[in-house]
Amino acid sequence: MLHIPIWKRIIIWGLCATALIFAMPNLFYDRVERYSDAERMVEMAGEIATDEQAVDLDLWPGWLPSTIVHLGLDLRGGAHLLAEVQVEDVYADRMDALWPAVRDLLRDERDTVGNIRRQESEPAELRVQISEPDGMDRALELVRDLAQPVTGGAAPGSTDLDIGSDGDEIVVTLSDAERRATDDRTMRTAVEIVRNRIDEVGTREPNIQRQGAQRILIQVPGVDSADEIKELIGTTARLTFHPVLDSTSDPDTTVDTGEALFPSMEEEGRYYLVESAHVVSGDQLVDAQPSFDENNRPAVNFRFNPAGGRAFGDFTAENIGSPFAIVLDDEVISAPVIRSHIPGGSGIITGDFTVEESTQLAVLLRSGALPAELTFLEERTIGPELGQDSIDAGRIASIVALAAVLGFMLLSYGLFGIIANIALLLNIGMIFGLLSLIGATLTLPGIAGIVLTIGMAVDATVLIFERIREELRTAKGPARAIELGYEKAMSAILDANITTFITAGILFAMGAGPVRGFAVTLGLGILTSVFTALFITRLMIVMWFERKRPKTFAI
């Protein structure tokens, strides 16, 4: 009656063993971590290992799985930031970039449209006043020619500009389809640049991901304060070169359209009036490295791509003797006078830098400018000591919880208690195996989830044992009682666990960060505890029964 075919036994023990093999690296956490780090470094360096890395590589056999459960920021310490990308910034840039084209176009038709003038407006729109309102139709027709089909958008046939008129003004804005497409591009660029910048610092396993329409989640383990990260990614780092028109100490100098007033970084109270259209920008940089100038002051060496190099070369050739401003995020780093034509597209930025600042500036320039500003909605920093305290506390609590439950089960069910306990230990091993396998992150609530599982995992087993106890009193013989016990407990076990699993699923779907970690361990715990209760305890009881063949037994 109690028969489990050999193939089923092999599958059950096989699954068990597989999960345990995947769980095993977690017992050798430091070793495996060093091994994995070394392996990654070697791979990046092109298969050449340093002596130190070779030592680390020997710590763990390559044929064994080497994935471990990552520790969450609350256990390892680190910074967690949620940033919002101000995607609207880009609309304004687009409008500013459009203005010269509109100006040139309408200037050629001066006879019909009269004089043109850019008006003050919202940043995301371009308003151009024409002095001959009769020419409005012609002007609109011309400007409409500037509109391009939206690229990469989901709305085929739409163009990127909405063009209309308001009295004697032409009003140009980005169309909705273009805004969506632009937002998407902005986000992708922003995520990539944030990733580049964080990678430059070289911390281990940073997690950078886009969240929702305009947010980026940044998690960097092992940093002491969010400031470091914010300084790195909170700077737009837009570098531009402008012709200087004037320099002044009056911050209220009148600024005409097409001009801009930027403060000096070097000298407090000095302002430069520059042409707002830039000659070249940081987008065209191919490299930037920290270095020193001829006076041995920290500086940054840079190199342009061919197009940028040509523009820069032409500009310097035409403006020998006049100053130009090197502007970083609306502040003038320095405004040197062009002494000679600078061909070849490389140059040096000097300013009032410390070595750290020049190094950071080089990093920022190399990784590119952020397309829009970031604001931080949420930031959490957990110190490594607090994380370690939590790990220690969690570890002790888990061990004590486990010992208490194991003891209690043994006292309550005797021999069957031992079987339940073996199942419980396998269960915990399997949770860790699955966590490693899916690359999950263990958080403090996650540890709580495991401890809760220790308590609840026995539930399915208890349901079965209690049922066998009942059936022993009525059923015909022990084998039948065992069989009926499993059969009748099945429905309750499944219903109870499916409902709990539903709540774990919802928790996972809505949860952020640590809560999600809890949902993962709770959900996996339900899966493994049902598996161990229905298959492993049964197999063990059947094996015991086959050997002993008891006429009666008590649970």
Binding site: E84, A226, D227, F376, L377, E378, E379, R380, T381, I382, G383, E385, L386, D389, A393, G394, I396, A397, A401, L402, A404, V405, F408, M409, L411, S412, Y413, L444, P445, I447, V451, L452, G455, M456, V458, D459, V462, E470, E487, K488, M490, S491, A492, L494, D495, A496, I498, T499, T500, I502, T503, A504, I506, M510, G511, A512, G513, P514, V515, F518
Partner: protein
């Protein structure tokens, strides 16, 4: 010698005083709601926005001194509490400082944090910040919404699943128990003013899961016994079912509580509120699966002719048809 918490055969009449127990539950629920409405929950920064700083210093903490120093900085509403844990060393003095969300700022800037740290270090140079968490009003608003949605979604999903597997009366009974558990948990959090943050929502949902687990096991037995004892009064069938599952109910609650108590005492102060919610939930949940969900079911009444339904609905039941019956 076996440890037996529950004797082999019990014949406790759980519904003898069902009006009293059910009434007590109702009163407790109403009281909880009143307490939540009057005193209010002690929302953490996850839901209220603001900044929460955990400090650690070697010298003992003088809260008044800290408060005086921090108030000088003009951050508005500041709340400082000392944190105790048996696991702390003698030179480990921990305090928690909560600062309200600042006008016109999302998360609190690093300048503000640096200023705060400087000010406090003047009191105690050994002081350091072991964690700084700052949540802007935008995010906290969204988190509240998500949390309410999650609890509602969990209740809805469960209502639906039980209705699918049992009958609508069962699903109302189960959800009544869940609402009871969640309300009472909110009540105790309001009374004890334990910080209510995102993790507590996770605990609430776990309580929902646990309580349900318990309820479903009892319901499953009720369903089985309704088929077995067709002619007995409903109340008797319920009593038999609860008595039969009593041993399991107690066993599971005890193992779960053992594990949770260990976590409560040894797991550190960071998750103590979270674990407390779960301990409370296990106790309340165990109680409610007998005295609330079953009572509601008894009140609503259930269909008695299960044999036919069982045949028809055989495909939707996991259990094989009972050969003995």
């Amino acid at each position: 010698m076996r440890l037996k918490l529950v004797p082999q055969d019990t014949t406790i009449d759980f519904f003898k005083h069902w009006k009293t127990t059910f009434g007590a539950s109702m009163v407790a629920m109403v009281l909880s709601l009143v307490v939540v409405a009057i005193i209010g929950l002690n929302f953490g920064i996850d839901f209220r926005g603001g900044t929460s700083v955990r400090t650690q210093a070697e010298e003992p903490i003088d809260i008044a001194e800290y408060r005086a120093a921090v108030e000088g900085l003009g951050f508005g509403d500041v709340n400082i509490t000392e944190v105790y844990d048996p696991g702390f060393a003698d030179d480990e003095n921990v305090a928690q400082i909560n600062i309200q969300a600042q006008e016109g700022q999302e998360s609190v800037g690093s300048d503000t944090i640096a200023e705060l740290e400087r000010t406090l270090q003047e009191i105690d140079p050994t002081l350091s910040f072991t964690s700084v968490e700052s949540v802007g009003p935008t995010v906290s608003g969204e988190l509240i919404q998500a949390a309410v949605l999650a609890v509602a979604a969990a209740l809805g999903a469960v209502l639906f699943y039980i209705w699918l597997r049992f009958e609508w009366q069962f699903s109302l009974g189960a959800v009544a128990a869940l609402v009871h558990d969640v309300t009472l948990t909110l009540g105790i959090f309001a009374i004890l003013q334990i910080r209510f943050d995102l993790a507590i929502i996770a605990a609430l949902l776990t309580i929902v899961g646990y309580s349900l687990n318990d309820t479903v096991v009892v319901f499953d037995r009720i369903r089985e016994n309704l088929v077995k004892y067709k002619k007995r009064p409903l109340k008797e069938v319920f009593n038999i079912s609860i008595n039969e599952t009593l041993s399991r109910t107690v066993m599971t609650s005890v193992t779960t509580l053992l594990a949770l108590l260990s976590l409560f005492v040894l797991g550190g102060d960071v998750i103590r509120g979270f674990v407390f919610a779960m301990i409370w939930g296990v106790i309340v949940g165990t109680y409610s699966s007998v005295f609330v969900s079953s009572a509601v079911l008894l009140f609503l009444g259930v269909k008695r002719d299960w044999s036919k339904a069982t045949d028809e609905a055989a495909g939707t039941r996991f259990a094989k048809p009972n050969k003995e019956a």
